[in-house]
Each structure stands twice: as structure tokens, then as C-alpha cells.
């Protein structure tokens, strides 16, 4: 221990950072590798060729400029939703409700985006785009504030409450998209909203590619979240409540308030994932679009070690896998669902890092991530 401190202090800071960064990434990287190997075995057992499958996966995700552009398109909502879950974890809260917050954010963004012009309000894009995005942010924040408040006030466990809010969001969106908000176009049979106004849309960065400014925005938001968590008093209080709520209370932190604020910011980020998908990609909300993001976001947050930079990298990886899966299925007829298995295995090996450490004989110890604490709250 003493020796380790000596060497790190005698070296330049940048190199120290690099080394600790690489050490931090070692276990997640090996977890991904192990998951890919096990996934390959599953593919082989199912009668496929794992090498052809992974070649297709890489070709589909990075094989051309368009493939790379599509990977960023897939990664964008993952960054927002992953940041949402990671932010919750930092405050000691397990937000499994990103899916519902995302869906509710997307619905509200769509409502503002197509509803205001119908009411005769004609806004320039400079105002209309931010307004639409903010509508989703607020909706997501409110959706997460409810379980946050229930936790702070009554100790109702956020794991179950955020899941219940997912189902409530799903039911309400089903009702809205099949009823009052349904696209009335006579050719439409799907539960979806009308298209949002042109002036409410976020544009692409280059013509001919779907790579859009929402991705750049996601990177900026990741920096902002890093700043909030590590450079502000609020962030310090959130992290203190996350690691030791009793100590935080003793130090004079209003723990109940911090719980609610953490949930609101977390939900706002998930809501932003929804509103960016509406304003920059789909230009409407469609039922079933939000399914699966909540659980993927948990895997991304854990893979990224709850750090914004890690979340961005993990999102790119997950985005690449989702994007490349279509090409893989086209080339090798292996169902895209194999990606869900690989992602679950990644989560498994990241969570149970003891397995990875055992397989690869890693001795570098790191601080245990404190994530949740039973039902006690």
C-alpha cells in the first residue's frame, strides 16, 4: 500500500491518471470480452457461426461512414439514459424507471412539437426546438419526482415504485397514442403521434447521414453531469448521501431534499433521451419505441462505472452492437435478440467482477461500488 502511494506521487499526474484510468477500464473490458466469448458459444450452440456473426456485427457498426453515423444515432439515447441511471446510483438511488421517464418525456415532447402549431402558435426554431426538448426534460423529471418523493417522505422503495411508474407510463401512453394523440392520417394503423413541426426538429450535422446534433448535445450533457457531480456543492452532497446517508445527515445535509433532487435530475436526463429521439430522429413518438431502454441503461451505467466518461464509452459500445445486429442477422440469420443475451452477460460479469478477477487472475483491488441497500431505505 505504502509503496503504491510512493510510486504514484513520484510520477507526473497525467501518467497517474492514465494508469488509474486503464486500471479502471481493465475489468469492464475483460467483462465485455468474456460476455462476447460466452455469447459466441450460445451462437454456436444455436447452430450459427460465431466468427461470421461477430464479423457482421463489426461491419454493421463501424464498416462504413454511414455505419459509424448510425452507431452514434443508436448511442445518443443510451448516453442520456445511461447518465440518468448513473446519476441515480451516485446518490444511492436505483432508478429502474428510465424507460417510463423516457416514454413520458417523448410523449410530451411530441405533444408540444405537433400540438403548438395546431393551436396556431408559430414559433421560430431557435425557440421551438429548446421548448420541445425542455418539455420532455420536465416530463421525465416529474415522472421520477413521484418515486423520489415517496422515497424521501415515506421510505417507499424506489426500485418497485420506479417500475410501477414504468407500467403506468406504458398504460397512459397506450391510451394517448391509441386515442386523443393518435395520428389521424387515414393511412395510419399504428399507435403513434402525428409528425412534429419542421421548426421543432433538430437537424443532422452532415447531409445524407442521420448523425445529428443530439449526439453532440449528449456529449455536452455528459460533461455537465461530470461538472455537477464533482465540482459543485450539490454534487458533493449527492455523492455523500449516496455513500453514507447517515454521515450526510450528521453533517447537516437535508437528505430528503437531496433524494428528490437526485431523482428529478435522473428522470430529467431520461426524459431528455425521449425528447431528443422525438426532435432529432423520429419526429414523432410511437408506441413500443421506448421498450428496453430502461434495462439497457442500467447495464450501461454499471459498465461505465457510473462515471460520465464511462457511460459515453459504454453507450457507444451498446449502440454499435444494436446497430451492427441488423447486418449480423442479414448475413448469418442469427436473431438480433442474441445482443440482449450478450448485454445481460456483460452486466453479469461487470456486477460479479469476482468472476472476471478469478478467470484472469487480476489482483488490483478497487473500491467496491456501493449501489443499493436492501428494502430498509
Amino acid at each position: 500500500m505504502a509503496e503504491k502511494e510512493k510510486t504514484s506521487s513520484s510520477q507526473p499526474r497525467i501518467s497517474g491518471w492514465l494508469r488509474s484510468g486503464l486500471n479502471t477500464m481493465l475489468v469492464p473490458a475483460l467483462a465485455v470480452l468474456t460476455a462476447m466469448i460466452v455469447g459466441g458459444i450460445v451462437i454456436a450452440l444455436a447452430g450459427g457461426n460465431p466468427f461470421a456473426a461477430y464479423a457482421g456485427l463489426i461491419e454493421g457498426s463501424f464498416g462504413s461512414l454511414n455505419a459509424i453515423s448510425e452507431t452514434t444515432v443508436w448511442a445518443t439515447p443510451y448516453i442520456f439514459a445511461g447518465l440518468a441511471v448513473a446519476f441515480g446510483f451516485k446518490g444511492g438511488l436505483f432508478n429502474i424507471g428510465a424507460e417510463g421517464q423516457l416514454a413520458f418525456g417523448a410523449v410530451m415532447a411530441a405533444l408540444v412539437g405537433y400540438g403548438l402549431p395546431l393551436m396556431g402558435v408559430d414559433l421560430p426554431a431557435v425557440v421551438f426546438v429548446p421548448l420541445t426538448v425542455v418539455a420532455g426534460i420536465i416530463a421525465g423529471g416529474i415522472w421520477a419526482a413521484i418515486p423520489g418523493w415517496l422515497k424521501a417522505k415515506f421510505g417507499g422503495h424506489e426500485v418497485i415504485n420506479t417500475i410501477m411508474m414504468n407500467y403506468i407510463a406504458l398504460n397512459i401512453t397506450s391510451y394517448l397514442l391509441n386515442g386523443p394523440m393518435k395520428d389521424n392520417n387515414p393511412l395510419n394503423v399504428v399507435a403513434r403521434t402525428p409528425l412534429i413541426a419542421e421548426s421543432a426538429r433538430i437537424s443532422t450535422v452532415f447531409p445524407d447521414y442521420r448523425f445529428h446534433w443530439g449526439f453532440i448535445l449528449a456529449l455536452l450533457v455528459a460533461v455537465l453531469i461530470w461538472f455537477i457531480l464533482w465540482k459543485t456543492t450539490l454534487g458533493f452532497e449527492i455523492r455523500t448521501v449516496g455513500t453514507n446517508p447517515d454521515a450526510a445527515r450528521y453533517a447537516g445535509v437535508n437528505v430528503s431534499n437531496i433524494i428528490i433532487i437526485t431523482m428529478v435530475i435522473s428522470g430529467a436526463l431520461a426524459g431528455m433521451a425521449g425528447s431528443i429521439e422525438v426532435t432529432a430522429l423520429n419526429y414523432r413518438h410511437e408506441l413500443g419505441f421506448a421498450v428496453g431502454y430502461g434495462f439497457d441503461a442500467i447495464a450501461i451505467a454499471l459498465l461505465g462505472k457510473n462515471h460520465p466518461a464511462g457511460v459515453v464509452l459504454a453507450s457507444l459500445l451498446f449502440g454499435a452492437m444494436r446497430n451492427g445486429a441488423t447486418r449480423m442477422q442479414f448475413n448469418t440469420q442469427i436473431p438480433v435478440d442474441i445482443i440482449s443475451i450478450i448485454q445481460a452477460l456483460i452486466l453479469l460479469f461487470v456486477a460479479a467482477d469476482a468472476i472476471v478477477r478469478y478467470i484472469y487472475h487480476i489482483r488490483i483491488q478497487q473500491d467496491r461500488l456501493v449501489l443499493t441497500r436492501g428494502w430498509g431505505g
Binding site: N171, P335, I341, Q343, A344, L348, A354, L369
Partner: protein, 354 residues
Amino acid sequence: MEWKRFGFIAFIIVALFSIVVLIGQARDPIPTIIISMAATTISVATPLTLGALSGVFSERAGVVNIGIEGMMLTSAFFGWFGAIYFNTILKFEAMPSLILGVVIAVLAGALMGLLHAALSITFKVDQVIGGTVINILAIGITGFFNRQLFFEKNSIFGGNVPHAPGTLPSVGQVPFLANVPILSNLQPIAILAIVLVFISTFVLFRTRWGLRTRAVGEHPRAADTVGINVSFMRYVNVIISGCLAGLAGAYFTLESVPSFEPLMTNGRGFISLAAMIFGNWTPLGAWAASLVFGAAQALQINLQFYRELIPPSLSLLQYPYIVGLTPYILTMLILTGIIGRTVSPAADGQPYEK
């Protein structure tokens, strides 16, 4: 369970029944409506009852199990696949195929239980994360194999979903049970679930095994000191928990409907955890709480029959999506503890370090 909680449960069930009776009485006699509601309530409460029992066993031994949802989904798929495999490929009769399907579902649940036990007991993974891993893995596995086995041309079924051997018949087919109201409408897993509630109560509170289980969940160190093998007790109870979740899974594809849909468990595993908490980690309390959720779901189902009788002033009740919110809102309400707080086993969620 104290009177306040029982009173609340009775009140909610009566209120939910009353809504259907008030709307439906214009067409059907009141006893018919009540019997129909009661049978639906008990039937749809089945996976919740079994899920809550699953939670009770795991958490009484000190292991939080939020993977019940995933265990149910996995078992629902493999039980269904097993029944079809025996029926279509091995040419078994429908009834033996269904029973073997249930066995396979329970085994699949046991395997998932074993995985959760290994993660939380041996590898000391954060138990809520371990449960989440199981939930995500279940979605991936069932989605992948559903596509691979039933929708791929080179699969054993040749690319089309074979005809399922139906669902388990109601016990009304047994001659001397045919005229018993409510009971004659119920199917085997629903009845088995009720029997298991009483067996679980006996096992947990009247046997040495139950005493040891509770000791391991309340104070593992003390249990260890008197020579109880903490890891072994936890492993076995989490596997029992998986078996019960597996039986709950069998309900979905072998008793309720003869088909499998991705994500078909629809949050029942999580609602059963709320039932377990509200029932204060006891089998009887968990069953009573499950019936509340069952009644809420029965409301949605039965209101569909009387859709055109719903008065315009209550037009929101016409929308299944809106009525469908009831179980979820009830869950959140119950978890606030306004109807009385419950206390979890003291060592619930904590890995035991020797």
C-alpha cells in the same frame, strides 16, 4: 397481521367488487357477478401469490430477490416450449405434455434460482443488481430462443409455431367438484398455489427447517455460531424461491393462455414483491395482499363484459388502459406504508462474511 391491514384489504376488495356489481347488475343477477369476480380474482392472483411466496422464502433466508419477474418469464417460455416439444415431437397426449411442461417450468425456475444464489451468496454481488441481471438475462434468453426455435426455418419446428396442447383444464371436469361454485372454475395451478400458501406457513413457522431459515435471515452470525450452515440454508431457500417463481411462470403459458409472448409477465414479479412486503413477509399475509391485486385485475377483465353498460359519467372506466392502472397505483400506495409499516428480515440483502 393486525386488524388495520386486514380491514384495508377487505375494504379494497369489496370496493372493487362493488364497482362491477353496480355496473353489471342491469344485465346479470348479482350472485353470478360476484362468483365470476371471485373466480377471476383467485385465478389472476395465482402468479402473484406464487411470486410472493417465492419472495418470502428467499428473503426470510436473507436474500433479496427482485429477479422473480425474470424467473417467471424464463419458466413461462421453457414450460411452454417443453409442453409443445413433448406434444409435437415426442407425440405425447395433451395432458401429460402439459404436466411435463409444468415440471420443466419449475426446473427452469430452479436453475435461475441457483444462478441468483451463486451471484448473491458465493460472489457476494449486490443482490438488487443480481436480480436485475436475471431480469435482463431472462428477456434476452426468451426473446432469442423464441425467435430461434419457432420462427427460424431450420429450427426443429420448421419455422412455424406448432399447435399448442391447450391449457390445463379446470377442476370442474372432476365429477364430484363440478357443482362447487368458484372452485369448479379454477385450474390446477391456482388451487396448488393456495395449498402452497398453507404448506409454506407450516414449513416456515412450525418446522426446524423454517426456524433455521428465519435464523439465517435475521441473524446469520448467531445462526452460524450454533452450527447452522448459513450458505447452504440460503442456497436451498433461494432455489425453492426459484421453483415457486417457475410454477408462477407455468401459470402464464400452460394455464392462462396457450401461447408465449415476449415480456408477457408484465411486471407481475414486481407486484408480487409489493404483496410480499405488504404481507409482512408471511405466506398468509402475502396471499391476502395478492388477492387485492387480483381483484384489481379482475375489475379490468370483468368491466370488459359490461363495457356498454358503463354510464357516460364514468366513461374513463371504458378504457382498459386506464382501469389497468389500478394494480400499479395500489402497489405504490401500499408501499408508502400509510396502512402500516412492515419490517423486513434483519439481514435481508446483506451478504454473510464469515
